[in-house]
């Protein structure tokens, strides 16, 4: 059998029930692995080992009594450090929240706990989840476990790298423009962004509220689904969360992919893509075809505006959301003689460059005289994209694309060039813009770095997306590869 820390959640859950090992042993194995590799990877910002060991013991008592809470009971996981978790600091990898103690649990975190999951650590991220490489963290970069000179992707780079290097069995991340799927692709794990509104955002530090969505990382799509089922649901504390009655169950469970129409949008195979990445993704598409899916070439013309729409709406919402960091309510407060100077100094010193860049973009786009040209226009184009997406999805059940146009690049390579960095999200942002669910699964390697395949579904057909990914993983073993560390 695999090392304990390398198990899938499904395997671990079975082993715990069969009493092959205890949660304390499993948790210990992950913590030991963390101690062995964390100095190289730097995936975490705070390790909660004392609490985790206590939780593992409590889980073992439930398992021994045959009173397990569900498939996650006793399973060690991690949580991105932009979600509130009692007993931990929530820093969002920003200096402005360096000493901020979580006053309550985010709903997704509370649900993980209620499901018996053992939370081992808070993971590193780009500051306030703004970035595609985890390099904007105020607490140092995370390194890709497949090659320590490469970025792990971002913004949930810590969650992806922790899972890929064996520090936990699953993790939560947040995805505003690709922040779960892109690092999952770069680190060779499975990452799932649910339909907008499927998981409560209560207790997630807001970045761009109309796009933000909490989602899951697993070694398999099955694991990502187990985590999703624990955290999803309508939440009175998040008025944008959706009623569970809207969830569309998989109609033909166990029926393989027979009869599924899978669209390959021309716009998602655009110029600028690494030809080897394209080749791996096309090979994966052929696998789906062998499983009974019908591949269809489709057009999604307005998708080419996904990234510009995103880079208007997101900074506008960022500038509004981050106005709460004022040096008065919480977080860093730089003492000065006046109120206004305290705002300027606290925000100027507390926020890093990328965060300030996005706040300023948003402040400009929303300012008098510019609102119609930027925000209003972007929301109209967004509505047009959504209508086009809905029409397209009448014809096909899923869309297939690469998750990112390239594999992980060198640390520092794109750091000074915002547009080059933003372009790496070109195939993921559109999904957030239209509020759809999408998964990234490993589908091969290019120059020894993992490649991600993205499958996109209709709103609330999350189960179909994840089941299709599971069928693919039944006949391939890319997801089972692990980095040598």
């Amino acid at each position: 059998m695999n090392k304990l820390y390398a198990l899938t959640i499904a395997e671990a859950s079975k082993g715990l029930r069969a009493k092959s090992f205890t949660s304390l042993e499993l948790t210990g194995a992950c913590l030991e692995r963390l101690r062995a590799v964390e100095s190289q990877v730097h995936a975490t910002l705070q390790v909660l080992d004392a609490q985790a060991l206590q939780d593992a013991k409590a889980s073992d008592r439930r398992l021994a009594a045959g009173e397990a809470l569900g498939p996650l009971d006793g399973v060690p996981v991690m949580v991105k450090d932009n979600m509130q978790l009692l007993g931990s600091r929530t820093t969002a990898a920003s200096k402005i929240l360096e000493n901020y103690e979580s006053p309550f649990d985010a709903t997704a975190v509370a649900k993980l706990k209620a499901a018996g999951a053992v939370i081992l650590a808070k993971t590193n991220l780009d500051e306030f989840a703004m970035g595609s490489s985890t390099e904007t963290s105020a607490y140092g970069v995370t390194r890709n476990p497949w090659n320590l000179t490469k970025i792990p992707g971002g913004s949930s780079g810590g969650s992806a790298a922790a899972l890929a290097s064996g520090m936990c069995l699953g993790a939560l991340g947040s995805d505003t423009g690709g922040s779960i799927r892109q690092p999952a692709a770069m680190c060779g794990v499975t990452g799932f962004k649910p339909t907008y509104g499927r998981v409560s955002r209560y207790g997630l530090l807001s970045m761009a509220s109309s796009l933000d969505q909490i989602g899951t990382f697993g070694r398999t799509a099955e694991d990502a689904k187990l985590l999703l089922e624990a955290i999803e649901g309508k939440d009175p504390l998040d008025s944008t969360s959706a009623e569970t009655s809207r969830y569309v169950p998989r109609k033909r469970e166990g029926d393989g992919l027979k009869g599924l129409r899978v669209g390959l949008p021309e716009e998602f195979f655009s110029e600028g893509m690494d030809p080897e990445v394209r080749e791996r993704v096309m090979t994966a598409a052929k696998e789906l075809e062998k499983l009974g899916a019908e591949l269809v070439d489709v057009k999604f013309p307005s998708a080419k505006y996904g990234l510009p729409v995103y880079y208007v709406i997101m900074p506008c919402e960022v500038s509004a959301n981050l106005s709460r960091y004022d040096g008065m309510r919480y977080g860093l407060s730089v003492p000065t003689p006046s109120l206004k100077e305290t705002y300027f100094a606290s925000r100027g010193e507390g926020f890093g460059k990328e965060v300030r860049r996005r706040i300023m973009l948003g402040a400009h786009a929303l300012s008098s005289g510019w609102y119609d040209a930027y925000y209003l226009q972007a929301q109209k184009v967004r509505a047009k994209m959504k209508a086009e997406f809905d029409a397209l999805m009448q014809d096909v059940d899923l869309l297939l694309s690469p998750t990112a146009p390239s594999v992980a690049w060198d640390l520092g390579e794109k750091f000074e060039d915002p547009i080059a960095m933003y372009l790496t999200d070109i195939y993921t942002v559109t999904v957030n813009v239209v509020g759809a669910p999408a998964v990234s699964v490993p589908c091969g390697f290019v120059r020894d770095m993992p490649v991600g395949l993205q499958l996109i579904g209709r709103q609330f057909e999350d189960a179909l997306v994840l089941d299709a990914a599971s069928r693919y993983q039944e006949v391939t073993d890319w997801h089972a590869k692990q980095p040598m560390l």
């Binding site: 339909t195 880079y311 309510r329 977080g331 402040a363 400009h364 226009q377 047009k384 209508a387």
Partner: protein, 97 residues
């Protein structure tokens, strides 16, 4: 579209952000290039299209108009998170003089 140094200073002022002298030119160049990139949105024909509101179609979510109490420990933690606290209030600098 290219922003001027004055525009950057105006935006920073609107956003309540202090910029270091050497950051002004960096931000000016970077923000200008992003604005130029997103400028392509103006070419999209959006006549007759209503702007998107909630992308998953949720609207007018209401709750009962009733007082809900926050648990004491959460209340304390929230108050303690403030840089300055006075009794059960968050202390801030004078807004009006």
């Amino acid at each position: 579209m290219s922003l001027s140094r004055e525009e950057i200073l105006k935006i920073a002022n609107l956003a309540h952000l202090k910029l270091a002298e050497d950051e002004i030119e960096t931000f000016r160049a970077q923000l200008s290039s992003v604005l130029e990139y997103v400028g392509q949105l103006s070419e999209v024909d959006v006549r007759g299209i209503e702007p998107a509101a909630h992308i998953a179609g949720v609207s007018n979510v209401l709750r009962a108009d009733e007082v809900k109490t926050t648990p004491t420990e959460v209340r304390e933690a929230l108050l303690n998170a403030a840089p300055e606290r006075e009794g059960d209030a968050v202390k801030v600098k004078a807004v009006f003089r």
